[in-house]
Assembly symmetry: C2
Homo-oligomer: 216 residues x 2
C-alpha cells in the first residue's frame, strides 16, 4: 500500500537538466571550446561533481578550477527556476495531497539551493518534509536519504513511491526497498534497470498509484 510519495527535485519537479547542459555549452564556448549540445546530453542527470569532471575534461583544467568556473557562471547567470517548473509536477502534488498521501522531497542539493528553487517556484507548502542530501555521509545511490525521509513521514519504506530521473536516484530508492518510478527523458539515456516502473510523463503517476493500491 503506497502511503507516501518522495520526489527528487532536479529533473523531476523542475526540468533543469537541459538548461544545465545549455549552461555547460555556453561556459565551454566562452573558453573557446565548441561542443554540439547533443554531445553533452550524457551529462544530464549527473551529480554536480560529474558536471565539474566533464567541464574539466573539455577544458583540460583541474576539477577544482572547473568547479570554480561553473560556480561563477551560475552566479553570473542565475537560473530562472520558475520557467523550468513542470506544471504536471504541481498538478500531481496537488492531486496526491488532496488524496491524503504524505509527500516528501529528497534532493542531493544543499538546503540553500532547495530554498532558492522553492522560493522561485512557490513550493513551500507542498511537502510534509524536505530533506537535503548534504546532511548525510553518503549520497544517492546510498539509501540513507530515502530511509530518513520515510521516517520523517512516519511510513515504512515499502509504503513509499519514489520518483527519480537518474540512475543514482533510482538505485538509491531501490536500495531503500521502495517502489521506484523512473521519469525517463529520451534525450538523456540512463540505466533504469532497477526501476519498478518507467514513465515518460509525470501525468502517468496518479493512475499508477491507484492501480498499485487497488492490487494491494
Amino acid at each position: 500500500m503506497i502511503k507516501a510519495v518522495i520526489f527528487d527535485m532536479d529533473g523531476v519537479i523542475i526540468d533543469s537538466e537541459i538548461e544545465y547542459i545549455k549552461n555547460v555549452r555556453t561556459l565551454l564556448h566562452g573558453h573557446g571550446v565548441d561542443v554540439p549540445l547533443e554531445e553533452l546530453y550524457y551529462i544530464g542527470g549527473g551529480s554536480g561533481k560529474f558536471y565539474h569532471e566533464n567541464i574539466a575534461k573539455y577544458l583540460q583544467v583541474s576539477v577544482a578550477t572547473a568547479e570554480a568556473y561553473y560556480k561563477q557562471f551560475n552566479i553570473d547567470f542565475p537560473t530562472d527556476f520558475k520557467k523550468l517548473l513542470r506544471p504536471e509536477a504541481v498538478q500531481l502534488i496537488r492531486e496526491l495531497k488532496a488524496d491524503g498521501f504524505k509527500l516528501g522531497l529528497a534532493s542531493s542539493g544543499t538546503l540553500e539551493r532547495i530554498k532558492t528553487k522553492f522560493d522561485q517556484c512557490q513550493l513551500h507548502d507542498c511537502f510534509d518534509t524536505v530533506v537535503s542530501g548534504t546532511q548525510f555521509k553518503q549520497t544517492k545511490p546510498h539509501p540513507e536519504i530515502f530511509l530518513y525521509t520515510a521516517q520523517q513521514l512516519m511510513v515504512a519504506p515499502n509504503e513509499c513511491l519514489v520518483i527519480e530521473d537518474s540512475e543514482m536516484g533510482i538505485n538509491g530508492g531501490a536500495n531503500a526497498g521502495m517502489f521506484v518510478v523512473a521519469l525517463a527523458d529520451p534525450r538523456f539515456k540512463f540505466n533504469t534497470k532497477r526501476a519498478s516502473k518507467v514513465v515518460r510523463n509525470l501525468r502517468e503517476v496518479s493512475a499508477l498509484i491507484k492501480e498499485l493500491n487497488q492490487a494491494a
Copy 2:
C-alpha cells in the same frame, strides 16, 4: 633628448582600473560578500595575481579558485574597452606621432589581451612596436620589457620617456634608466617616489616633453 615614448596600457591608455575594481565588487557580492567600492581602491594598478590574491582573501578560498572565479566573470561580462579609452591618450599619441617621436607599448598583459583592446579601441596603427611582458622571464619592476622596447625602437634608454600608473611600472622604467612619468589617480594611491615626474592628466605630457627637450 627624448626621442621615444613608451606607454603602459591598463590605467594609462584605458581607464581600466575603476572598471576592474567594480567587477571585483560585483564578483564578491555574488558570493555574498559586500564590500564598499572605496575599500577596494587599493587593488587598483595591481597585477592580475594581486587581484586574485585579494579576491581569495575576501572569499576565503584558494588563489587558484579566486583566479578561476575572476576568469569566468570576465568571460561572462567582457569589458567594453572602447568605453574606457582615454580620449586624451589618443590625442597625445597623435601629437607625438606628428612630432616624429617613436612610440612603443609595453604591457604586462598577454598579446591576446592587448589585441582585444587594440581591436576594440582601434589602436593598431598607433605604435611602432608593441611588447607583451609574457615573453620575458621577469615582469615589471624588472627593466627587461622597457630595455627590449627601446631596442625595438632603436633608441637608447635615456632617450625614452615611460608613462606608467603603478609602482611596479614606475620602478621598471626607473630601473631601465628612463625618464618616468607617473600618471597619478587620487583614488588609487601608490608609491611614486622613483618617478621623474608626477602628472594628473595625460594632457600635461606634451608640454613636459617640449620642456625636457628644450633644456637638453
